[in-house]
């Protein structure tokens, strides 16, 4: 099981704040994005500017996302 969190515009695109993904195997960020694009094709315009966080830490493209992880899609931030 992997938990995916959506914020800001990504919440609008997917229509939800989170997704529980019954996932048995680890996957790369690219594989995650590919699968999200299959579910919500409109998410692809956000892909270039969106960072991934795994269990609350930003990760690069070579990190493996594991079952049990909380993975957040972080579009460009605008706090303050």
């Amino acid at each position: 099981m992997m938990r995916i969190l959506f914020f800001a515009q990504l919440k609008d695109v997917t229509g939800r704040a989170e997704l529980e993904w019954p996932e048995a195997a680890a996957m790369s960020p690219a594989q995650l994005w590919d699968r999200l694009e299959q579910l919500w094709p409109a998410i692809s315009v956000h892909r270039p500017a969106t960072r991934l966080a795994r269990n609350g830490e930003y990760v690069g493209g070579d990190t493996l996302l594991e079952p049990g992880d909380e993975v957040a899609l972080i579009p460009p931030v605008s706090g303050g």
Binding site: A8, A53, G56, I74, P75, V77, G79
Partner: protein, 141 residues
């Protein structure tokens, strides 16, 4: 360096200058308040709604402050970021820094705000027009 970070849905009440200042080792106390402006993308607005990935936002703010504290050692720093609907003219963020000298305090304020706007998972979710203001907020403003 004492670090305290907080997210709140309530109006920010900047805490008074703390005991740290009365100790005699702080010569500088600097504060910054980021206020919601009445215009977003050129259109008049009544409020902004902010959203946060709360546990990560708290952790990243804390990490940024700790890292900046190595370069600009301060005695204490405290950050409060408000989320939810924030009416125009009210504070979205407050940061207060106690330091030995003003240079560290100013560097901490200014560099923290720059880092916040790059890395802390908080978003201006949407702008609200006057007709969209919930009654509770407009009455309380």
């Amino acid at each position: 360096m004492e670090i305290e970070v907080q997210l709140t849905t309530e109006p920010i009440e900047p805490p008074p200058m703390g005991a740290v200042l009365r100790g005699g080792s702080c010569g500088a106390w600097a504060e910054f308040t980021g206020v919601v402006r009445g215009e977003e993308d050129g259109r008049p607005i009544a409020a902004l709604e902010y959203e946060a990935y709360e546990p990560m936002a708290l952790r990243v703010m804390r990490d940024i402050l700790a890292r900046l504290g190595e370069r600009h050692p301060c005695h204490a720093v405290r950050v409060i970021h408000r989320v939810g609907i924030i009416p125009v003219g009210e504070a979205a963020i407050w940061i207060g820094v106690a330091a030995g000298h003003r240079q560290e305090a100013f560097a901490m304020l200014s560099e923290f705000m720059d880092e916040l706007k790059k890395d802390v998972p908080i978003w201006k979710r949407r702008a609200l027009g006057p007709e969209e203001m919930p009654l509770r907020q407009s009455a309380g403003a």
